[in-house]
């Protein structure tokens, strides 16, 4: 089933801010088997010039997860989530994410297409601070295998 092209170019702002916690960053770092001191040691992070522990470069995926899911599970979009795999992912960090951040995620649908029997959707999610300043831009492509 082709994806709904009317979603392309639209913003889908998520209603809830994501509050970055010290323990969530520590949990994420331990889950990826990486105990870089700046992820887990508040004193080390402060000594390095940060207000608190620093998030790993891919932690932003946890920040944007609910916002992206709300868009992807919208039945009007027509994405068959049972057959979805991750095609690619890219993060542009305008500044590091640190514990204490309150972040807003706004996903956009950049492109939908069908290729080789698959449906593909390219998302861009803008992550901003309470003043609206950019923190991270996350680009991702999801592939619904055999859905087209």
């Amino acid at each position: 089933m082709a994806l709904n092209e009317s979603f392309v170019g639209k913003a889908f702002p998520y209603h809830e801010t994501y509050c970055v916690g010290v323990e969530k960053i520590r949990e994420f770092a331990r889950a990826i088997g990486d105990e870089n001191p700046l992820y887990v040691d508040r004193d080390a992070a402060r000594a390095a010039g940060y207000p608190d522990v620093v998030a790993p470069p891919t932690f932003a995926i946890a920040v944007i997860m609910k916002a992206q899911d709300e868009l992807l599970f919208n039945p009007e979009l027509g994405l068959d989530f049972d057959v979805v795999v991750h095609g690619d992912q890219r993060f542009v960090h305008h500044r590091p994410i640190v514990a204490g951040d309150e972040l807003t995620s706004t996903p956009f649908v950049d492109k939908v297409r069908s290729a080789a029997g698959n449906d593909l959707i390219s998302l861009r999610t803008e992550v901003t601070d309470p003043e609206g300043r950019p923190v991270c831009t996350a680009y991702g492509t999801l592939v619904a295998r055999g859905a087209a």
């Binding site: 870089n36 620093v54 790993p56 470069p57 997860m65 049972d82 991750h86 993060f91 542009v92």
Partner: protein
Amino acid sequence: MTPAFGSVTVGDALPPLAYSVTRKQLVKYAGAAGDFNAIHWNGRVARDVGLPDVIAHGMFTMASAGRIVTDWVGDPGLVTQFEVRFTRPVVVPDDDEGAQVELTAVIGALDADARTARVDITAKFNGQTVLGKARATVALSG
């Protein structure tokens, strides 16, 4: 210590890194990241959708690949861009050893104006690459 821009040359290899990933690790990652897709912890569901068995989250593999960069640069806040394509799955068996993944990386490009280095990463599982175009941009000192 963050490597100085002037100390880095295109083609330099970063220290390699190998890791094993078990199902327990995937369950921990699912909780940490909030991604509970059953193909990452339930073999029955994975096989039902045509996969060989449980596979690692692509984002787990990406996060692990990032370690070769952050171990080298020290300060993970200096990674300004990071991108990968997911080309093959990492199949994680139901045993205590898990799947073995080997990471290597080289300096792919330098930007003298921005004082950044592009690190090109190779991730291999069972002798085959699992990521394509895996690149991180790092801000260096000096």
